[in-house]
């Protein structure tokens, strides 16, 4: 007995067997995973199952033991996972086409159910993807395009989430959130006509701005004219007769005095002209 035990090869052999045994009995469950223990192909129990509101450190994660070779561990993600919907065309009730990208976030809350119905997370995602697509098409198809751009959008998303959640429950998953990532007008006619509408709206705005500017300018000018007229009237109104004389004098000067671009003036005067009164000599 003892010589056999002293043989290093035997020791190594025993050590390896022990190690394999320990390795297949104990396992560490990280916080990010849930473990379904499967005994001979039958799911037996769940370790570190998700419970809402449990702090990390109080979960079932940690060192676990199982029957070696008879029980297998199936790992299932405990974190929030995502499903992305491929870009889809959706037709609203007012016959507008929209291209919609959406995503949903879900979490596996019943690993046993999920293991039985889908086996892997990928298959859950694959199952949820078309349902997300059809839920979105149904909901958006019932509404007008403008709803998407209104506060009602929240209600819309809640409806989609409810529809998706109903299906997700069958796979042991819970939908945390559904969000529309993009909702665009598809390339081609719809986008072009939207651009055209924007363009014409801008042109109209530009025209309106110009007209407003013209209007304001005219008002400013008219006000200035009125102001000037009032100033003149105030000053000249003191003696209209003198103003007539004063202004006539100014006017003669401007009219008859030879300026830069004026022709020479010739004046033919009658001797009766007042200016020439003294010229004739007075008949006293």
């Amino acid at each position: 007995m003892s010589p056999a035990l002293r043989n290093p090869i035997v020791i190594a052999f025993i050590a390896i067997i022990l190690l394999v045994l320990v390795g297949s009995t104990f396992a560490t469950v990280p916080e990010t995973k849930q473990a379904v223990i499967v005994r001979f192909g039958n799911p037996d129990r769940v370790i570190n199952a998700y419970k809402p509101g449990v702090d990390f450190g109080r979960t079932g994660a940690g060192l676990i033991a199982r029957l070696p070779f008879m029980e297998q561990i199936v790992w299932i993600d405990k974190r929030i996972l995502s499903v992305k919907m491929d870009r889809q065309q959706v037709l609203s009730t007012d016959q507008l086409r929209l291209q919609v990208d959406a995503f949903a976030r879900y979490r596996i809350v019943d690993p046993l159910q999920m293991y039985i119905s889908a086996k892997t997370e990928e298959r859950v995602s694959d199952q949820l993807k078309p349902i997300l697509g059809s839920a979105i098409r149904n909901e958006l198809g019932k509404r007008q395009f403008a709803t998407l751009l209104s506060p009602e959008r929240g209600q819309l998303m809640a409806n989609i989430k409810r529809a998706l959640d109903r299906v997700a429950r069958q796979y042991g998953a819970e939908v945390v959130d559904v969000r529309i990532k993009r909702a665009d007008l598809p390339e081609g006619t719809p986008l072009d006509s939207a651009y055209e509408r924007m363009r014409t709206a801008r042109q109209q705005e530009a025209g309106a701005i110009r007209a407003q500017g013209y209007k304001q300018a005219q008002i400013i000018k008219a006000e200035a004219d009125a102001e000037a007229a009032r100033t003149y009237a105030e000053a000249y109104g003191k003696d209209p007769d003198f103003y007539a004389f004063y202004r006539a004098m100014q006017s003669y000067e401007t009219t008859f005095a030879p300026g830069e671009n004026q022709g020479r003036s010739s004046i033919i005067m009658s001797p009766d002209n007042q200016y020439l009164q003294e010229f004739k000599g007075r008949n006293r």
Partner: protein, 360 residues
């Protein structure tokens, strides 16, 4: 066993060339699998030799020397000669190094260490030197909580437009970036699969949701900062609902323009604004001139009138003659003298004089 060891030593010698690189800790980590009977095969099997030549320290003085010795060992004597097998020492040193590297952790000033005990969250340690149990039992993951991470969405490049519908069914091209930090390291590590792309997607959906409530003019102009704060608020709410352990530090809208195809129409609007403004400026200039001229004229009249009031008749006459003087001194005058004679006006002569005057 002896052959085993010999090979182990050779292997160790070959590994030697790599020593000094980042081999220390990671080699130890890789060795976790052969902590069993494979101990001697580990590159750490060399330390016994170090015991024999104490002066060399951890660095091997000469590879040749080492090779020669190991060859000698391989070819000739058995290692059992000293009573204890070398690999036991090797194992001892290996375990010591293992403990050293997996029990003590240096955590930088901006980092936190999340410690898990057999995978179960145990505690979060602050910066400094942290001690944990050795690796298979406790594990420490460092998370940088001070670093502000940025995620860009859309680009200011014209070729890649990130088109978004606004509340008044217009389309704008938006580029923005999200700045975020890790608030709760343990939530960040355990709660969400792929947090970074989650943040990107949440940002996109939040931006679109917010823009769907504002008008085009707000989105390209004055409403930007309001949009930024609303988006980061929405994002924070959504991520908190996920329990992501992330704090949104802010959104920066780098660009929000109308799409390139309609940009000309938008430029036309600003051109129209300029034009309208120039109309108004011109009108203002005219107005100032008009008012000033009126005031000047009125003031001049007032002055003259004040003088006129003192001696109306004389002033009037004086002004009349002075004006007539100025006017008539520079023009051609013809006085038709006789009464009863039909005045004959030599029109050609008048015209000629006028031409001469113009030519002069």
């Amino acid at each position: 066993m002896a052959t085993f060891f010999g090979w182990g030593a050779r292997l160790g010698a070959m590994m030697n060339e790599n020593r000094g690189g980042p081999w220390g800790p990671s080699g130890g980590g890789g060795g976790s699998g052969d902590g069993d009977g494979g101990g001697p095969r580990n590159p750490w099997g060399q330390p016994p030799r170090r015991r024999r030549t104490p002066g060399t320290g951890t660095n091997v003085s000469s590879i040749d020397d080492f090779l020669r010795r190991s060859r000698e060992r391989f070819g000739g004597r058995f290692p059992h000669q000293e009573g204890r097998p070398y690999w036991l020492y090797g194992l001892g040193v290996f375990v010591l190094l293992w403990l050293l590297f997996t029990c003590f952790h240096l955590i930088g000033p901006q980092e936190r260490g999340v410690v898990t005990l057999f995978g179960k969250y145990s505690r979060t340690v602050n910066s400094g030197i942290a001690m944990t149990l050795p690796l298979p039992i406790e594990r420490l993951q460092k998370v940088d909580v001070g670093q502000i991470r940025t995620r860009d969405i859309g680009s200011p490049d014209a070729s890649q437009e990130n088109l978004i519908l606004t509340g008044d069914q217009n389309i704008i091209d938006v580029a923005y970036s999200v700045r975020w930090t890790i608030r709760d390291p343990q939530l960040y590590l355990f709660q969400i699969n792929d947090p970074e792309s989650t943040i990107g997607e949440v940002a996109e959906s939040a931006m679109r949701a917010v823009l769907a409530t504002v008008s085009l003019d707000d989105a390209i102009g004055a409403g930007r900062s309001d949009i930024e704060s609303r988006v980061s608020q929405v994002m924070q709410q959504v991520l908190d609902r996920y329990g992501a352990g992330v704090r949104i530090e802010g959104i920066a809208i780098k660009q929000s323009d109308p799409p390139a195809t309609v940009n000309n129409a938008f430029k036309e609007v600003s051109a129209a604004q300029q034009e309208a403004q120039s109309y108004i400026n011109q009108a203002r200039a005219y107005a100032q001139q008009q008012t000033a001229r009126a005031q000047g004229d009125a003031a001049a009249f007032d002055k003259v009138y004040a003088e006129y009031k003192l001696a109306p008749e004389v002033t009037r006459r004086r002004m009349y003659y002075e004006t007539m003087e100025r006017v008539l001194s520079k023009v051609d005058k013809t006085v038709v003298e006789a009464d009863g004679v039909t005045p004959y006006l030599p029109l050609p002569q008048v015209q000629r004089q006028a031409q001469e005057g113009a030519a002069r």
